[in-house]
């Protein structure tokens, strides 16, 4: 049973001191050990990189407006898609949800005062920025053109770009990811409030636990791969380049051993967000809680066994290809468990269409398309036709943007009252969710068609017959850009002018809603004792949809 008092959203509880006004000054932020402030530092960093990556995307789409390569040089185009990928993957998608929302919420969801290692948490943000500086330097110094995949021997011998600077940036940035994962795992194991058993944890926490496992097990392999790549490039010693006696396929194996699971680092936290939103806005316990919890772990484990599906045409043995193809189908099972269980949760729920829920619906729809087309690509024979076409590009954008970013945006709206203590304007927010959904589909659905008809990826020019689809895609990208700019504007606006948010505006069932908005530095005045299961909403409790400022 939930304590009814704490769920009453009526009185706007504004504590005199909370984590935002506890102390002031640049030092109080740059030297903070408060997980909530570190989350906001991360928010600033990843948002900056999101827009930088967006600028690269914009230039790519502009070039592809016409079949001829008329806007930029081919080399420049190579650099654009490479830097778009590197910035978006390593500096936005991987840290976005764990380091911002996870950092902010995990201790609160566990009823803890902070993460287990607050100093390491701050250190991880600094490491992220040091990695970012190297990467930005490389971009300014002329960029890198190998694709975000750094395939050898192009990257280790032939490329003229700043491979070493970018590789060093990613290497350093990896440690921030490792430290975040390490911190989360230890915190979840050792800092749960009294009574908060594993099966009473919010699914957001389970998803982050699974994500952290991938971060700590996968990232070090990328690190050592980058070390070997750097050795070959700097000293001309043979390790991956065939001309030096090395094996280029080995690089691909090592690279994808991290980089495929990295996809799950991006999508799993998002799935955790969706579970929270779906439960709150349908006022129901998540259907099959344990299945959803374990499906996160299953995705993390299977995710490590499928990397070879990136290499069906790379010259790996056909038997390896068959095994990887089979295992890739296998990952679809825990993913489908989640989608089915979310849908079953909606069934007979008291659904309300607040902005976070709109993003959650968007996530489910787009993730289904992204997931199903993933099965196309996991099929050994069909993949030979689709490899290196826009079909692949569309597929992974449906997962990473349609999935991960939709979840991130939904989560930002859902927890914004907790983070800022203010409500965002609901009408504008709904409009932005709609614009993002439409813009996204307009951008990426045509790419499925172009790819299936054979348009290859990573070229700055293309055959005339694909122009209509590419114009649609570019138009969609502009709409999508507007959709992403809007929240940034009204979030900043709401920090000053938004209506004051109560402690639990939706109301949600997790511990994070039982403390003030914004929370005090210590999160809870007294450590809470948990006596209820996750997502226990009271019968007949009406959802109090916040009213936007009039």
């Amino acid at each position: 049973m939930i304590n009814t008092e704490t769920l009453q959203p009526a009185e706007p509880l504004v504590p005199r001191t909370h984590y935002l006004n506890a102390n002031y000054g640049i030092k109080s932020w740059l030297l903070t050990k408060d997980h909530k402030r570190i989350a906001l530092l991360y928010l600033a960093s990843v948002t900056a990189f999101f827009f930088l990556g967006g600028v690269f995307a914009l230039l790519i789409r502009l070039e592809l407006l016409t079949p001829k390569g008329d806007l930029v040089q081919p080399e420049t185009y190579n650099k654009l898609f490479t830097m778009h990928g590197i910035v978006m993957i390593f500096f936005f998608l991987i840290p976005a949800i764990p380091a911002v929302l996870g950092n902010f919420l995990l201790p609160m969801m566990l009823g803890a005062k902070d993460l287990a290692f607050p100093k390491i948490n701050l250190l991880s943000w600094y490491i992220y920025n040091v990695g970012a500086i190297f990467t930005l330097y490389a971009i300014i110094a002329g960029g890198v053109d190998t694709g975000w995949t750094f395939y050898t021997p192009l990257s280790s011998v032939y490329s003229n770009g700043n491979v070493i600077a970018v590789a060093l940036g990613i290497f350093i940035n990896g440690f921030s990811s490792i430290l975040t994962g390490l911190n989360f795992i230890v915190t979840i194991h050792t800092m749960r409030a009294p009574g908060l058993t594993w099966f009473r944890l919010p699914l957001f926490v389970w998803a982050h636990y699974a994500t952290s496992l991938i971060q700590i097990l996968g990232t070090p392999v990328l690190a050592v791969t980058i070390v070997l790549l750097a050795l070959e490039r700097l000293f001309g010693v043979g390790i991956f380049s065939p001309s030096l006696g090395g094996d280029p396929i080995l690089f691909q194996h090592l690279f994808w051993f991290y980089s495929h699971p990295a996809v799950y680092i991006m999508i799993l936290p998002s799935m955790g967000v969706i579970s929270e939103i779906i439960a709150t806005f349908s006022r129901k316990k998540i259907f099959g809680y344990k299945f959803v919890a374990f499906s996160s772990l299953a995705i993390a484990v299977y995710g490590f066994l499928v990397w070879g599906h990136h290499m069906f045409v790379s010259g790996q043995s056909v038997y390896a290809g068959m095994v990887f193809s089979f295992l890739s189908y296998f990952v679809a099972i825990p993913s489908a468990v989640k989608v089915f269980n979310w849908t079953a949760t909606l069934y007979k729920g008291s659904i309300s269409y607040a902005t976070p829920m709109l993003y959650a619906f968007g996530f489910i729809g787009l993730f289904i398309i992204g997931g199903m087309t993933g099965l196309f690509l996991a099929a050994l024979g069909l993949d030979v036709h689709l490899t290196d076409t826009y079909f692949v590009v569309a597929h992974f954008h449906y997962i990473m943007v349609g999935g991960a970013v939709m979840g991130y945006m939904g989560g930002m709206h859902y927890w914004w009252p907790k983070i800022s203590g203010r409500m965002y304007p609901e009408g504008w927010a709904k409009l932005s969710a709609l614009i993002v959904f439409l813009g996204f589909n307009l951008t990426f659905f045509p790419q499925f068609l172009a790819g299936y008809m054979g348009m290859p990826r990573r070229y700055h020019a293309y055959a005339d017959q694909f122009q209509v689809l590419n114009v649609l895609s570019t138009a969609g990208a502009s709409v999508l850009g507007v959709g992403y700019l809007m929240p940034m504007i009204y979030f900043i606006w709401s920090m000053r002018y938004g209506p004051i948010a109560s402690a639990n505006p939706w109301p949600g069932s997790g511990l994070e809603w039982q403390t003030a908005s914004p929370p005090p530095t210590e999160n809870f005045i007294d450590t809470p004792t948990v006596t209820w299961e996750a997502y226990e909403f009271e019968e007949g409790q009406n959802l109090n949809v916040p009213v936007a400022a009039k």
Partner: protein, 234 residues
């Protein structure tokens, strides 16, 4: 770290933990998770080693496993063995340092920390002599690399892996000795007690891990000749 609000709290208890037990558990789990990442880090390099050692040779090219044997035979097994013994001894002294931290015998704790540091440094010095020998014989991969034909190409792969792995291992040793300095200084300043000596205990785990890596590196790199020589190998 040392801001205790209540009289009953130990001075080393951080504000966000409820009690020392929870803090110790978190620290120890954190270290084990970190070591897990280290295993994966070295694991990538071990994978490269295994792949190349078992790579089927191209037609009309010398077999790569024979090249590995030939290259392995140029390593100084005697020095490698001495280093192995040194590291095992340093693990013992480290374990004793942890033991005396737990029992609160400060003088012996410091002695064994210093001994560990000396043994670690001895390892690095011997490794340095080995590296110098490699430079003399042009066994450093790169443009200057020389090796008896027909293994010129394949032996270079072996030495790339040899230097990458022993180099990363040595880097871990150097970092370890740096941390040892800090811990010894802390012990000198009477910072540890039987109730709180987490840095000694956690560093002990790290030091043993670095040892274990070497226990794998030694046979894989130095003793290949003994292992694959007569049997014809792969």
């Amino acid at each position: 770290m040392a801001d205790s609000h209540a009289v009953t709290h130990h001075s080393a208890l951080a504000h966000h933990f409820d009690n020392m037990e929870q803090q110790r558990e978190a620290g120890s789990l954190g270290m084990w998770v970190f070591l897990l990442t280290e295993i994966m880090f070295f694991g990538g390099a071990f994978t490269a080693y295994i792949v190349y050692r078992n790579l089927p040779s191209a037609p009309n090219k010398p077999s790569i496993s024979e090249a590995f044997v030939a290259a392995s035979n140029t390593l100084n097994v005697k020095l490698g063995l001495i280093n192995t013994i040194i590291l095992i001894c340093s693990s013992l002294t480290m374990a004793l340092a942890v033991y005396y931290a737990q029992t609160g015998v400060r003088r012996k704790q410091i002695i064994f920390l210093l001994l560990t540091m000396v043994l670690g440094t001895a390892f690095l010095v011997i490794k340095g002599f080995e590296y110098a020998d490699k430079i003399k014989h042009h066994h450093i991969p790169g443009k200057q690399f020389e090796f008896a034909e027909p293994f010129q190409h394949q032996a270079q792969i072996f030495f790339t892996i040899y230097f990458a792995m022993t180099g990363l291992h040595a880097l871990h040793m150097i970092i370890g000795i740096g941390i040892l300095l800090v811990i010894t200084w802390m012990a000198w300043r009477k910072r540890f007690s039987p109730e709180w000596h987490a840095p000694v205990e956690l560093f002990g785990l790290y030091w043993h891990f670095v040892d274990i890596v070497w226990i794998f590196l030694f046979p894989l790199l130095y003793l290949l000749g003994y292992h694959l020589h007569s049997g014809g190998g792969h």
